[in-house]
Subunit: 222 residues, 2 copies
Amino acid sequence: MLSQTEENYLKNLFNVGDGEKEVGTNELAAYLGVKPASVNDMLKKLKEKKLVDYEKYGKISLTEEGRRKAVEVVRKHRLWETFLYSTFDFTWDEVHEVAEQLEHIQSAKLVNKLDEFLNYPAYDPHGDVIPNAKGEMPAVHKKTLLEEVVGHHCTMVAVKDNSAPFLQYVSRLGLGINNKLTVVARHAYDGQMEIEVNKKVVTISPRFAQNIVIVCDDCGKK
Amino acid sequence: MLSQTEENYLKNLFNVGDGEKEVGTNELAAYLGVKPASVNDMLKKLKEKKLVDYEKYGKISLTEEGRRKAVEVVRKHRLWETFLYSTFDFTWDEVHEVAEQLEHIQSAKLVNKLDEFLNYPAYDPHGDVIPNAKGEMPAVHKKTLLEEVVGHHCTMVAVKDNSAPFLQYVSRLGLGINNKLTVVARHAYDGQMEIEVNKKVVTISPRFAQNIVIVCDDCGKK
DNA sequence: TTTTTTTGTTAGACAAATCTAACTTTTATT
DNA sequence: AATAAAAGTTAGATTTGTCTAACAAAAAAA
Ligand SMILES: [Mn+2]
Ligand SMILES: [Mn+2]
Ligand SMILES: [Mn+2]
Ligand SMILES: [Mn+2]
């Protein structure tokens, strides 16, 4: 079994550079908050365990197996964030630190129950995609509600403003993370928008709309 | 801050011998599943930190501060067990292993929210008392429902039989951990008992009653 | 009260994860 | 191409928690 430290290296290797850009020792060290020498030591160990591909002075990447482990940790991290946020009323900025610990709890049953309890959420409170039980993670283009096309259906995935007045107003309107929204209308006069949520239509200002992050469910679908 | 290992030593020191009997190096080592030499090393460190009282070749005990830390870990352990049991449908015997990990999560807010979410439970699924937020832990005499006096009020704290048929029958009757029960009657003919739970009276067999662990709420009260 | 058994301690070794300081390779700049 | 800068590596040290094997003290048995 992997140590917490090994799990953290894999997860951060997965997150740094968003899976695309090549990563080196120094960059990963800075990201992890340790010294390059420590990263170098750990890379040898992870290579030995066939979790990373790495040649001396070369770039670092995850193996298939390494990626699988990393995604599992990311999944747990984001499920716990969602749980803390939606069940225990943690704020957007409080969840990360605790999820950083909870992501290392070893219990397949617990993860599955958590997922089920939260009704299989697709996004965490920061709007990041939660990998499903198979480790699948659809790539997704986020935008603000202000930019959404009239008539389109979308999912609310995050807020940009974390102030109490804003958040109170959000919940007053019946909005919440992972809610399905439909843009009913946008008025040219002052940019006011009408949004349908849970069978009810509410009217919001453009300023408000700009602070709601969504994923379009119609865009890019055939 | 304490390491997980230090927390485990304190918790097990608290649990071994139920706070009464004096404990030595060998006994604690056996309880923790490590060698006496390891315990000896750790005791020096914990003594240094003023968490245990210990003299060479003497008996081991917790200081005030050590006891406080231990109780906090016990509290978290039992709250998590209760959560897993009552919210995520873990069985009686599955909860311990996961709680062993969750008890080390550092977040005062999380513990408080958990306690609130569970409605401040007094007992965990094994019938052990959950210390409250102040670290108070009333000593308590458990017995089976079969032994309870007619007319007395009590709290169901655990089951002795963990088989599926029994547990299904328990929930069918509307019984559950931390429920308040009243013994309405006991029939001399065959020992059948009538129990009031949630305003309803159900009839149970003596065999059934013997597998329900309770704490009397009337006994020992003035 | 000796002797034996149990209990507890110490020294020395080891694995994991980190660091510093010195060194090497690669890349960028002149 | 030579030099300077950046990136990456290594050796050796440190901390934490563990172990084994040898030793010492205390308790129990004879
Ligand atoms: Mn972590
Ligand atoms: Mn997140
Ligand atoms: Mn533990
Ligand atoms: Mn318990």
